[in-house]
Amino acid sequence: MPSFEELTTKERPTWCPGCGDWGILTALKKALVEINAEPTKTVVVAGIGCSGHLPQWINTFGFHSLHGRALPVAQAIKLSNHELNVIAVGGDGDGYGIGMGHFIHAMRRNVNVKYIVHDNQIYGLTTGQASPTSEKGFKTKSTPHGLIEEPVNPIALALATDCSFVARGFAGDVPHLVKLIVQAINHKGFALIDVLQPCVTFNYLNTFEYFYRRIYKLEESGHDTSNKEIAFQKAFEWGEKIPIGLFYKKERKTYEDELPQISKEPLIKQKIDNVDISQLIEEFC
């Protein structure tokens, strides 16, 4: 139903020219066009970061929540009205740093929400500190002598939690990312798309260049998306070759499927004008 233009706001994004976030926004809008999403029935929920500004620039409902908290908000919106199309976005700091707990628990819960992480391996909005996915040794404002920790591996974590849809995209390959987002939305269940997103201002290491030279597509390499062990091996491939695409997919009941409370109609449609509690009062008499 919506055209790309209808989804486009009058205000232009304030991201740095060349930032990978532009590609992600474009891909999201194209995917929404492709799946015929009604803008009024679509909610984009964000955390805080450069990535977190995204909902401002797409003509749907939006909720710009707190740093690291997009997922709890998004899940509750979906549970309250499962006819909505709910998409959560956020940064790597947002989702894998301060939001790590929600991330893991959302995956095991399997509410039908899509999670697109702008993984630029840096804290962008706070002007360049190390992020949970920054590479070891990386020098940033907060690690001027080089980062000591090993990065987290969001794909491996998702597999360890049996997330029902685990994928990685690249902000520099919009058509591919569009496909992934469409697949994710069509998938019934929680979907993670970790997107490699160059931050042209603060990440001098993981540039577009860097990724162009390294990435290859899983779907072109005969990868079996139903095999968790192989997906797990692939998750650790990082260096000369970096896989993108769908790592793993599994059909699982969604959380909503198991709620008799909403099997007839969404929570939001249920009347509350005059809830009869006489039975409850009786219980206490």
Binding site: E11, P39, T40, K41, T42, V43, V45, I48, H53, P55, Q56, N59, T60, F61, G62, F63, H64, S65, L66, R69, P72, V73, A74, Q75, A76, I77, L79, S80, N81, E83, L84, G101, H102, I104, H105, L259, P260, Q261, I262, L267, I268, Q270, I272, D273, N274, V275, D276, I277, S278, Q279, L280, I281, F284, C285
Partner: protein
């Protein structure tokens, strides 16, 4: 007025909680009034638990200090509580486990040794049913119709599945009753209480009343993380989730809990979260999110003694100023502190209306004493309650709006709220924004939105009557308090009344917005103003001073983790006033 108090004490894991509930309920079900309170350490087994039930043939609002019958399941219970026993009071104890002599306790105390465990097992029950033997025995002591106990046990365990369990429990209790009749005939009727004209009343704890208030208000989403003393809301609501179509979600932590409640509310569903101090600390950031996005939110904060984990299973009123000031930045909120189970119900219901009418966070502030004590109240008048969703748009209305401004700078500060799927789209943002909800750092937008949000508060102030008054207008003593101290204070007033002292009690129900004008007017000319609070720093007194500039003459404070008894209050007041006269 006749009354008595009964206490059962023993180790955790002895089933004391259920026994206490059965005991009190049996009297309520037959037309009397009961009030109970329990005490237990933060352990699962061992440690010392007690459950106190006060029974009266007239309305009562709290427990009292003296115990007429002590059921001691351990020797420790005797040692700990012998001094609380009233003159000629009774100790029921398991003579096969330990012995008690009058030398150890007091001469006037009547000892009632019973082979509790033996009777339980011999009459077909398990050892743990020894409590029922004691309950039966207690019924004999107060000479109350055993059939009321039968009714209650059937009510609690009954139903198809529980039939057998109920039967065994009743049998066991009856043996206890008979044992006293047979062996201690002289004790019969020494405590007199008899059934009155029957009236249907509820026997309910604060948390259950809150849960009912929420259900009646149309709460459809409750997200929480377990934390004493708020957990029983989670338990109760989840047990009803399918009957009332409520999504009850135990989350990974309190941060997720409050964000989920906000998400649900944004989606248009009435939602609530509940916790205690530590969890509330974790929620403070999101309180501001609700405020800035103007998403309605109800948070129950059931207090327990802090700081930090403090005394997790005890009671205190130490979080008042924290609740009022929690979260960075400045925004209007409502803090309401119910004083009894009745107010728990009605004020929780109101909280949902206020939250939606003003699109702000509302904090319902209780404490362990209120949250977990049963009291006897009239059935809630549920029919008369009206849901008010304020400026929430209907789909039809949404269609008519041109150029929708979610954060329109209106005269009341409240603006139309649409929900996803409606035509009037907007973005809720944690950053400051313009009237449309678009991020803005312009000075003018900032001032407009700050003023808009605070304007609601003005309207609110004029709409809410935050104070309730009890007692005499020309009183000698004016007690000022808030929250769960209400019950013990009302009881203390009965004692004063007997002594012919006139007392007035000002209950501050709404702490924010603070009822400044009314408070000023009320206390300006009073003498002997006394603050009573279950905390160390007299937080209400400091709020009164902050808002009215007035000092309170005396402060009676208790911060040992235990609730006041009416006698405590009476004595302390007497003491400060006598001292003042010297």
């Amino acid at each position: 007025m006749t009354e008595f108090s009964w206490k059962i004490g023993g180790e955790a894991g002895y089933g004391i909680m259920t026994s206490g509930l059965i005991f009190g309920k049996a009297f309520v079900k037959s037309g009397l009034f009961a009030f109970d309170t329990n005490e237990y350490p933060s352990l699962i087994r061992g440690g010392h638990n007690t459950y106190t039930v006060r029974v009266c043939d007239e309305p009562i609002f709290s427990h009292s200090k003296k115990i007429d019958i002590l059921v001691a399941l351990t020797k420790l219970a005797v040692e700990k509580h012998k001094d609380e026993i009233s003159e000629n009071g009774f100790i029921i104890f398991d003579q096969s486990v330990f012995s008690v002599s009058n030398e150890e306790v007091r001469d006037d105390i009547n000892l009632v040794p019973i082979p509790l465990t033996e009777i339980a097992t011999k009459s077909g029950g398990q050892a743990i049913m020894r409590n029922n033997v004691a309950i039966g025995a207690s019924f004999a002591l107060v000479d109350y119709n055993f059939e009321h106990l039968v009714d209650t046990i059937n009510g609690i365990f009954g139903g198809k599945k529980g039939e057998d369990i109920a039967k065994t429990n009743i049998n066991v209790a009856r043996e206890g009753y008979n044992y006293v009749e047979r062996n201690f005939p002289k004790f019969l009727r020494s405590i007199k209480i008899s059934a009155k004209k029957f009236a249907k009343r509820m026997y309910i704890i604060g948390n259950e009343a809150i849960s009912l208030g929420a259900i009646r208000a149309g709460c459809k989403f409750y997200s929480a993380y377990p934390m004493t003393p708020a957990s029983s809301i989670l338990h109760f609501l989840s047990s009803k989730e399918n009957d009332y179509n409520i999504i009850v979600k135990q989350t990974e932590d309190e941060i997720a809990a409050i964000h989920m409640a906000i998400g649900a509310s944004f989606a248009g569903v009435r939602s609530m979260t509940g916790t205690s101090g530590g969890g509330f600390s974790l929620m403070t950031e999101a309180l501001g999110l609700a405020a800035l996005t103007e998403t309605p939110l109800v948070v129950v904060l059931a207090q327990r003694p802090g700081p930090s984990t403090g005394m997790p299973t005890h009671t205190e009123q130490g979080d008042l100023k924290f609740a009022i000031n929690a979260s960075n930045g400045e925004f209007p909120r409502v803090v309401v502190a119910p004083g009894d189970a009745n107010e728990c119900f009605y004020e929780t219901f109101n909280a949902f209306n206020i939250a939606e009418k003003y699109q702000i966070p509302v904090i319902v502030l209780t404490d362990k004493f209120l949250a977990e004590s049963h009291s006897t109240i009239d059935p809630f008048l549920s029919k008369q309650l009206k849901i008010d969703r304020g400026m929430l748009l209907t789909d039809e209305k949404a269609k008519q709006i041109k150029d929708y401004k979610r954060y329109e700078n209106t005269a009341t500060g409240v603006s139309y709220r649409s929900i996803p799927s409606q035509i009037a789209m907007f973005k809720a943002a944690t950053d400051e924004h313009d009237e449309y909800g678009r991020l803005s750092e312009e000075q003018s937008d900032r001032i407009t939105q700050m003023d808009k949000r605070f304007r609601k508060f003005k309207v609110l102030e004029s709409e809410i009557d935050g104070i309730k008054i009890y007692g005499d207008d020309d009183a000698d003593i004016t007690i000022i308090s808030w929250g769960s101290t209400k019950g013990p204070i009302l009881e203390a007033m009965k004692i004063f009344a007997k002594k012919g002292v006139k007392v007035c009690f000002i209950q501050v129900l709404y702490l924010m917005p603070f009822p400044t004008t009314k408070m000023k007017l009320l206390i300006e000319k009073r003498k002997n103003k006394i603050i009573i609070e279950n905390n160390k720093t007299a937080q209400l007194a400091s709020l009164i001073k902050e808002h009215t500039g007035m000092d309170i003459d005396y402060k009676i404070l208790k911060y040992d983790g235990r609730p006041f008894t009416p006698e405590d209050i009476y004595e302390k007041i007497d003491e400060v006033l006598t001292f003042a006269k010297l």
